[in-house]
């Protein structure tokens, strides 16, 4: 479900612009795939926070790589959760949301 989003990040080399486009794409996907809107919205919030933090500040390769690992891990967990029951999905979304809020 998230292949195109990952492709956007890869095409734009996980730079700030990649996350900006990724967030826009998440909003569009949330409007189309309404049953999974919350997953897309959560990912867009995560990406936008990164954009706000680094669009006008120096971003080192180390920080960029750490963000890349985080978002790809998040997407992988979401992909798996799609095959689980609603309790497991909510649990994952709560965990991811807490992670986002804690930076």
């Amino acid at each position: 479900m998230f292949e195109e989003l990952v492709e956007t990040l890869e095409t734009h080399n996980f730079g700030v612009r990649a996350y900006e486009l990724f967030a826009q794409q998440c909003y569009q996907s949330a409007q189309v795939q309404t049953d999974h809107a919350v997953f897309f919205l959560t990912l867009s919030v995560f990406a936008e926070r990164f954009v706000n933090q680094y669009e006008e500040s120096p971003l080192t390769i180390t920080v960029a790589d750490a963000q890349k690992e985080k978002i790809l891990g998040m997407i992988q967990k979401m992909e798996k959760a799609l095959h689980k029951d609603s309790t497991a999905r909510i649990e994952l979304l709560n965990t991811v949301s807490r992670d986002i809020m804690n930076g």
Binding site: F14, G15, R17, A18, L21, E56, L59, T60, I61
Partner: protein, 232 residues
């Protein structure tokens, strides 16, 4: 308006010196930076630091006014527009110096309509100079310029304090969009002054020079972009 018109060479050298003096320039070869467009780079510049140094910013604005008047003309611009965020203070000082109205352009539209991305009064067919702090690959200039043109402005020129001048596609991108860019200094000026005044160690200077001569190859070898991204 009290202006002098030093040569472009002098302007570039003094601008580079000022940027180095306030440590707006960073060379980092062990842990490179990743630019917005995904390029890996050993260099970073923060022109926003200039706003905190009154003697420097006044000199920079004098250079900017001289460069603009010399290259565009004294009566050929009707207004100055700053690009959000870093372009706004420089556009304000420049508008004041050139005795011209000012607007600023948002990164994203706020609300709807022709002028949703513009703040300040803007009449149709106003000849606007777009001002930003720097140009890396030229992408943001096009986005801001398009917003101004959509709002009815005529935009033929953009001014930046610093231009990377290392990505060959930038000039083509600007030319394709009928945009002429003026600037005060480039990485080549910073490199030259850094060498002369020994601001950085030899190893850093050598590596930076390799990057400046072949940024795409250097970026690819350090985990960054390996080709020019599409304008999206």
């Amino acid at each position: 308006m009290n202006l002098s018109f030093p040569s472009q060479e002098t302007i570039s050298e003094i601008t580079a010196k000022m940027l180095l003096e306030i440590e707006a320039v960073r060379f980092r070869i062990d842990e490179p930076f990743r630019f917005t467009s995904g390029w890996a780079s050993p260099v970073y510049i923060d022109c926003r630091k200039l706003i905190s140094y009154p003697r420097i910013r006044q000199t920079i604005m004098g250079f900017a006014a001289a460069t603009i008047l010399r290259n565009i003309g004294f009566e050929s611009i009707d207004a100055v527009a700053g690009g959000e965020t870093a372009g706004i203070p420089f556009a304000a000082w420049l508008a004041d110096r050139l005795m011209l109205p000012m607007q600023y352009v948002r990164k994203k539209p706020k609300g709807f309509g022709r002028t949703a991305q513009i703040e300040g009064d803007l009449k149709k067919d106003t000849k606007i100079l777009l001002v930003e702090d720097l140009t890396t690959d030229g992408r943001s200039k096009i986005l801001f310029c398009n917003a101004l043109r959509t709002a009815g402005a005529i935009v033929s020129h953009t001014f930046v304090i610093f231009y990377y001048n290392i990505f060959s596609q930038t000039n083509r991108l600007l030319a394709d969009n009928n945009l002429d860019m003026l600037y005060l200094a480039t990485w080549w000026d910073v490199l030259s002054v850094s060498k002369k005044l020994k601001y950085f160690d030899n190893k850093s200077i050598e590596e930076v020079e390799i990057f400046l001569n072949n940024p795409i190859e250097w970026s690819a070898a350090h985990g960054g972009a390996s080709e020019y991204p599409e304008l999206t």
